[in-house]
């Protein structure tokens, strides 16, 4: 269990730079992933551990089998919905901003703006602070709490879109492309590939916000998580399951949201000449989109783009930048050359290279 309150106050470091000892005690790298020795817990561990803090519900960050899990209530809900009640020993929900003593550290969770329940993990120890941001995005998203910058000494960041070629357009512009295509090809069903956790609900919400109020049809893999979002107060309008093949007729000319892999498998053959769309930050790069056989790429990402990534790093005021996964070379180069930060790539292998494991896995 995480709740092990200690009365003894940690001695404060005399200057804001962490000494080597504090640095090693607050965060280190083990075979199971990031580990906090002073608190005795892992963050997003890659294999079952005793105590895990989980940033968010994506499969590469939230894995089943830990004895105790600390996360936001939403993330715990998502884990139970996906893996079942027995996917961890005990789960402890921690609200955004509420401090919790864990070992010799104080842990707080802060919104990461990535998907529902996603959190950055801030660990304070002897006057120093490290923030493990998990996956995050800084632009507004109506389906989750807004990203909150947290000042820290060590900032641990993903770099999924860590190349300056990635500058995501406003999502409303991409939804506009989809709406124009629906008007232009009113007889063709639009299959929108979107990762079932987070992206799918965001695309639906963006469509609603753009005034699209027709029924939206859902692939069978979408139902549970979409209902979970609605239980957490994200209104998604008229949604219809599309399990039986005959329903595909009802969807003609409309929008069907499905996992990305479904657009290329047998399931998609029930639709006559569909327009295949895919909502992902990867759609920005033509060669990547071509691999997917997409006719309507929608550049909608749940990760920061290059501009946002570098701005987020700067906003933390960190001295050290650790890069967990993604395109780390460019980010490390930028942090060292342009900002004079101590930057190191962790090359954590267990996380999805493309940051969005749901359809690929």
């Amino acid at each position: 269990m995480f709740r092990r309150p200690r009365e003894r106050a940690a001695p404060r470091a005399t200057n804001s730079d962490m000494n080597a000892d504090a640095s090693a005690q607050i965060l280190t790298l083990t075979e199971a992933g990031l580990y906090c020795p002073a608190g005795g817990f892992h963050i997003d561990p890659l294999r079952p551990v005793d105590r895990a803090v989980v940033t968010h519900g994506h499969a590469d960050h939230a894995r089943p089998g830990h004895r105790a899990v600390l996360a936001t209530g939403e993330t715990l809900d998502i884990m139970v919905a996906r893996y079942g009640e027995t996917c961890f020993g005990t789960g402890q929900a921690l609200a955004y901003g509420a401090p919790l003593k864990v070992g010799d550290t104080t842990v707080t969770l802060h919104p990461a703006g990535h998907i529902l329940g996603s959190a950055q993990v801030a660990i304070a120890y002897r006057g120093a602070r490290a923030v493990v941001s998990g996956d995050y995005k800084t632009r507004p998203d109506p389906t989750c709490a807004a990203y909150e910058p947290v000042a820290c000494d060590v900032f641990v960041s993903e770099a999924t879109f860590g190349l300056p070629v990635f500058r995501h357009p406003p999502p409303q512009q991409e939804i506009g492309k989809l709406l124009r295509s629906l008007a232009q090809f009113p007889e063709r069903t639009h299959l929108v590939g979107a990762y079932p956790l987070g992206k799918a609900q965001r695309v639906i919400r963006l469509l609603r916000d753009a005034g699209y109020d027709a029924p939206i049809f859902l692939h069978g893999a979408m139902g549970t998580l979409t209902q979970l979002y609605e239980r957490h107060g994200v209104a998604l309008g008229d949604l219809r399951p599309l399990e039986a093949a005959d329903k595909s007729v009802a969807a003609r000319g409309g929008v069907v949201v499905c996992p990305p892999s479904a657009t290329t498998d047998r399931w998609s053959r029930r639709f006559v000449d569909p327009v295949v769309a895919f909502a992902s930050g990867w759609m920005r790069v033509r060669a990547r989109a071509r691999q997917r056989g997409v006719e309507l790429p929608l550049v909608i990402s749940d990760h920061v783009d290059w501009t946002e990534l570098t701005a987020a790093v700067e906003a933390t005021g960190c001295r050290q930048l650790w890069v967990t996964h993604g395109q780390e070379d460019a980010l490390v180069h930028w942090a060292q050359q342009a900002r004079g930060l101590a930057a190191r790539p962790l090359r954590l292998l267990g996380y999805a290279e493309d940051g969005e494991p749901e359809g690929a896995a």
Binding site: P164, R167, Q184, R284, V285, G293, E295, W334, Q337
Partner: protein, 537 residues
Amino acid sequence: MKAFAELLDRLSWTGGRNAKLRLIADYLKTTPDPGRGYALAILTGDLDLGDARPGLIRKLIAERTDPTLFALSYDYVGDLSETVALLWPAPHTRANADLSLGDVVERLRETGRAMLPGVIAECLDRLDETGRWAFLKIITGALRIGVSARLAKTAAGMIGDKAADEIEEVWHALAPPYRDLFDWIEGRIDAIATKDAIAFRPPMLAHPLEREDLAALDPADFAVEWKWDGVRAQIVSDGRGGAALYSRTGENMSRAFPDLAQGLCVGHAALDGEVLVVRAGAILPFSALQQRLNRKTPGVKLMADLPGHFRAYDILSLDGEDLRALPLSARRARLEEFARTIAAPCFSLSPLTDARTHAQIAAARMNPAAFGAGADGPAVEGLMLKRWDSPYLPGRPRGLWWKWKRDPFEVDAVLMYAQRGHGKRSSFYSDYTFGVWRAGALVPVGKAYSGFTDEELARIDRFVRANTTNRFGPVREVRHEPERGLVFEVAFEGLNRSARNKSGLAMRFPRIARIRWDKHPKDADRIETLERMLDPA
């Protein structure tokens, strides 16, 4: 420019012909003049702004980005224009007004070389990612979106009710941005005043002839011509020193064949014929012509090594007189008369064959050299039978012209990879890569997309899904072991050496002749069989 960039972007992702037509027609319908006219000209290839060299683009981006970040980005994206489009730094103050396509075209046209970098940079500053991508593709002449001139004109006609052929008829009298064309299509004027200039005429096409059909024809009614293994083309000279070479679909090929466009600006005529490569009086194999076709602008050395040649078989206009309503017999006489006045070495008259009877026609098809083709025999891919009384009509009218191709080559090959098709076939694995045996392993020798019925397609699709051994994006590797796999009987028109393929061979027009469910991969052909079929080099 924003709307046009979005159109180009959308077209680049769209495979289906009808979807492309709708996208272009909708754009032309909703975009005001002169932008839509310039857009149409860019799509038809009549407005060539592709002068910028990649080196210039590289220099511009190098001045604006960290070299390490550029190198990492280029490495990741893999395409220079796309990398630059995505990487170009957003200026601090972006003009709110969209840079119009008309502005872009006017600026580029009036800018000399020295000022070009500044103008390009200014345009890039004023465009968004998609706009920059489209702009860079246009100015580097690398716009590949699968739209032919013919398709663009068909789409333009769709905004009124004009057929592509009607537009082709008046096209020569028009210039970008085509205000009069849109006035005419949209019914604001009744007709376009045409004058005879360098105009493309839609070609007349032939129907395939089966052996059984031959008996029903009276040889006396027909001109029997050679069908050359080249590229159908039209050369039009305006009598004032200008000439243009057009492909069968109306693409202007003058830049790819300056030797022909310049060598044949003689007289004042429109000729239908075949582009070939002829060196020292001998027609070179199709692979030589392919090398010329691969180059948008050939160098002097390539043109000297592989000289372009035009072999004429019909004349459509002469000295301003439209000859197309005349019977072929009269046109042939005019053509022969005209040909006698042309001394250019890159020009020849396509001779008639010596075949006069059914038996001779059948024999000439098999043995062209013995019926007048002489040393050109290997460059013959069949016969053309054209009614002497046929006028020259656009399209493929019934019963007037026949083509009777030499029997295709056939081999048994093994399905190795399958990819999903486009449009109404997009849910099926309909594009196949097949191979033959070389030293105990299968080596890919070609791809085919056609030659099967819908039922057969469904059955192959089931086979592909049940026998997938690996996936690479949209491509599936299909089981191909000696005892397990699928054999196709593949027919093709010819075979060349090619450094591009692993097998070193390239098939022309391969298609699936039969699906050999009864055969095992081990029964398929070996590479040696193919090598014996190679065109004489």
